[in-house]
């Protein structure tokens, strides 16, 4: 399967959320509630000037998260 960590996508690439694999249930809950649920489309908008954190577009709004957290979000690449 084409499963990638959100961290590995480059600017402009789109993906569909598959699962979140972090050991912290607190972070997981926050990410889920912010809308990163299975099947949701995400797009990498940009990286911060120093490369971290990253900014993503999701459910019509913009969210920033550190690469460390992005690493645990797995997506399937959306070819469109």
């Amino acid at each position: 399967m084409n499963k990638f960590s959100l961290n590995n996508l480059t600017v402009g690439e789109k993906g569909i959320v598959q699962n979140i694999a972090t050991s912290s249930s607190h972070i997981r809950q926050r990410l889920l509630e912010m809308g990163l649920t299975k099947g949701t489309k995400v797009e990498i908008v940009r990286y911060a000037p120093m490369g971290d954190p990253i900014e993503i577009a999701i459910r019509g709004y913009r969210l920033s998260l550190r690469r460390l957290e992005a690493e645990s979000v797995f997506v399937e690449k959306d070819p469109q």
Partner: protein
Amino acid sequence: MFREKVELSTRYIAIIGNPNAGKTTLFNALTGLRQKVGNYPGVTVEKKEGKIIFSDGCSATLLDLPGTYSLTANSPDEKVATDVLLGRTNHTPPPNFVICVVDASNLERNLYLVSQIIDYHIPVVIALNMIDVAEKSGMTISSKKLGDELGVRVIATIASKKIGVDELKKIMQSNVTASLKARQWSLPKVVKEECDELQTMLQGTQHLSEADAFHEAIQLLTSPTALSEHLDRYAPELLEHVKKDHERLDILGIDRQSVFVESRYEWIKHVCEASREIKSQSFETTSDKIDKVLTHKIFGFVIFLALMAMMFQAIFSWANAPMEWIGEGFNELEKNVTALMPPGDIRDLTVNGALAGVGAVVTFLPQIFFLFLFLGLLEDTGYMARAAFIMDRLMSKVGLHGKSFIPMLSSFACAIPGIMATRTIENRKDRLVTMLVSPLVSCSARLPVYVLMIAAFIPQQKVLGIFSLPGLTLVSMYLLGLFAALIFAWIFKKTLLKSDAPVFIMELPPYKLPSLKTIIMHTWERSYLFLKRAGTFILGVSIVLWFLATYPKTERATPAEQLQQSFAGQAGRLIEPVIKPLGFNWKIGIGLIGSLLQREVFVSTMGTIYNIKDSDTQFSNLSLRQKMHDDIDPHTGVPTFTILTAICLMVYYVLAMQCMSTVAVMHRETNSWRWPIFQISYMTALAYGTTFVVYRIGLLLTA
């Protein structure tokens, strides 16, 4: 009719909503200037209440709850909002009903909170805010259809232009009820079965209401720690049952945590489709275009630094003029009081104790005002989130959050606004670490001490042809403070306030034009609270210090002799053995004690000791420098000040907490004495230790 009116006036209404949904703007539009700010007891979360007056003269109380994304309570702010909403606290009554502010341009995520509120059967009206922004980005939302889907009244509003506010008020006067459409979202069959079963058990054994039991059931099914956490709360049979549920769902491959959130969002998607029409979706919004510049690799930094420089400039120099006016005003006042009152202790107490102390606090007001004006502008336009976005990488090196940068920078002007600016940091531990280290950054009150010492003792020499030794010394002092702050932030994060790297999951809201009214009200509230809380404390401390420097009275003594004979003078001698290892004698001891209130007092205390008249105790004054230079102990032949003592004294002032206003603000912001006392202790120990080492090394080098 009359009865109804009385009932209405005792109504308690809360405003809730996601951060950045325009909650505060709507709150201001509804209440006008009739507001009152305080703290929730025991936590550092702000409590804001206002009075709303209806067209027929009736009124009700409106509570502005902290912004929250959900009722799962992920931060102290969110916990307060949840607890108040669900009536779980003693300090605040549960609201009769709530207004939930929803950002129309960000409907899906905002409806998540709405769906939770509906499920708790809380009476609610929805303010569908920023409807203009949604329309501009190509969406049409029917408030009628949205209301039908959710089973509640929905009013389209543009809070910044007061559109929809009157209609909202009308509804607030009528009877607001809970939605009849709770829990419309559907769970997978097996999950629903377990959840229902558990809910029934909880209703029976724990006597919970249907809604509470339902949410408790979700909690028990999702949270990995639920079982160990509630050991004493539930019967063993129930816990056993929950454990079996976990096993069963896990075997079926169901993600217990995400299934509930997913199901809710699934339903929200359906609600949005039924009530929202997306005509055209532009890929690049205006905010995107702005962000291309403001978060650009190079320009982003340049603009950020320019903005910070401007803010710094405002606190540092623009505030100077009003600070001088206030200073002069107090001088005038002191003169007038001196002229009006008969000479004696009472006059002395009023002028040199009370007025001097209060004056010291009020002088900070312009700095506080400018800082909050800037912070308000940055926050309200949406730039603050970008600043944290840009600086996060750097701050993460010492284990902090991007949001810690601005408080630390503000502390270069003054630690008081710096500490107050930490309010934007959600994580309690990260906020504490930032507050603990901020006073190590060299503030403007240290400058007079540095300047006096450097001008008097550091020789005018060129280093490497371009730098001057005095200039380099000054820079070193600033760098020492900054490094100490960063190192201690790192240490505290590793030890005392150990916590994981802060979670940086932050919304980047669209840019918007700032609402000047909101910002000015915000700035005024902050300034007022600062005056009220810090002022009363400082008044007490300054009276004590005045007493120490005035008594016991010596007949016909010069001011210098009087000070030396006073309790403060005696204390200076008393602590001499303690400060001797740092190269300080009793005269410096008096200076240290006198400047406990605020650092720059050191300069005027030295002025008094060396018998310099009031009018020329300016730190640039030559005679003070000369006298300090020439001062040699008649018994030992040791000069009071050498280059080494001057350096040691500066190092001490860089690191020591010689500022009671900061202590007062720490007390107010942490709601405890523990942290301010800890802060004084660690900073004093650090200052003492470092100065000792510097002195010893200096002695070795000069021997």
